[in-house]
Symmetry: C2
Subunit: 218 residues, 2 copies
DNA sequence: TTTATTTGTGAGTGAGTACTCACTTTTATT
DNA sequence: AATAAAAGTGAGTACTCACTCACAAATAAA
């Protein structure tokens, strides 16, 4: 099921490989579901305990505060949302050869990569973007990850393809970045958050989106 | 000040011209500020009363429930976000003549129009998009307004420019709509919500965004 | 001015709220 | 098997929540 996938992701993602107890896993599962459904502030710890089938005290045995529980859910998502963007792919694919197919393929790779990530983690991503505005801790976590791991690589990537002529030099680098990101994220949000029940032709939409980006920036 | 602008907007927007009492205006003002800052669920009616300088009972004299207060804040925003999109402009500008400048100008008009709307109502728009996921009443309000007032006009608009050759016929109409909307909304959100403190060159960004859309869909 | 209506009040209500703690049960270590 | 540490419990804590209501003040209608 979907729920187990989420937990799997979460457990794998936790920096120290401390395996959670079954009850702790149940708590996370319940909290994720309720935070996504009602929002963090509108969800009570007693409700989470009830849904998880544990005593309320058990929650506070593992998480000092309710906010601690939220952070422990959200922070691996932030990390994993940023990292696989470039980690292994970027270095070999971009710098070794510079062809047109390469640009198109990498663009496609990024879209598919993030598409699948959100597809597998819709609930967690929803919670993250819902709560980020109200919790400075999450904001900082996000900013750090983005500024360190995504932004610098992306800038280099854009500059490379501006040099090769795939991307027009009329666009400032930051504007290119903004346009690509809003187009990709906009698609993914429309697909999974805004209109998840629309009869999507995913492959077609992705191809058209890539075409739109490529032509728009040429 | 900004606050008064918001209220002015709100008061003008309320369907019946019942003018609110000064205390009621204070309540709305306080509620808007706190909802935007902490979120609806995390804001208590006692806090609102305190900030507005009224007794807590006064809130419930004017609004049956706390949710009633939220709806009365958010619903005029939904209406006003959709309406001026096309109301007067659309008919004359699009159907009377079909030139290339026309397409570009209308695109520009839309971007500037929505840009200024969000610029003037950032706080209210923030509340709307923050709370829409948790309140079916707002969702329905939004869906109705969009489906009735924006969507049909937009479809016709896209079809017109696909016929004139400004927009490629390779893109399905709904895909065109999605790409334009995510690009425009993505820019506005980045500008006013995500990175409001970045040193923006608004006119340049808008022009580049229009160029991106035009070339992307050609 | 008298009467009726609207607007404002704030103490009071019961139902939660996040969180604690003394305690029991389970698991790991010697 | 004895001891220690970790995990789980649920009644209890002080406090806050949205909302009510009997009453007072201000405004409008007569």
């Amino acid at each position: 099921m979907n729920e187990q996938d989420l937990l799997q992701e979460l457990m794998k993602a936790s920096e120290e490989d401390k395996d959670l107890t079954p009850k702790q896993a149940k708590i996370l599962q319940a909290a994720i579901e309720m935070f996504a459904e009602k929002g963090y502030a509108a969800t009570s710890t007693s409700e989470i305990a009830k849904k998880a089938g544990v005593a309320e005290g058990t929650i506070f045995r593992h998480y000092k505060t309710k906010k601690d529980l939220l952070i422990s859910i959200v922070s691996p998502v932030v990390t994993r949302f940023a990292i696989p963007f470039f980690a292994d792919r970027f270095v070999k694919e971009v710098f070794e050869k510079e062809t047109n197919e390469n640009y198109d393929d990498l663009l496609r790779e990024i879209v598919y990569n993030r598409f699948e990530f959100v597809q597998k983690n819709t609930t967690l991503v929803k919670i993250l973007f819902q709560e980020i505005s109200f919790h400075p801790e999450i904001q900082q976590l996000f900013a750090e990850n983005f500024l360190e791991k995504v932004y610098p690589h992306f800038i280099k990537w854009v500059e490379t393809y501006q040099r090769s002529g795939d991307i027009s030099k009329d666009f400032p680098v930051n504007t290119v970045l903004r346009l690509i990101m809003t187009t990709v994220i906009g698609f993914i949000i429309t697909r999974f958050v805004f209109l998840p029940h629309y009869d999507w032709n995913d492959e077609m939409e992705i191809e058209k989106t890539i075409e739109y980006i490529r032509k728009g920036l040429s």
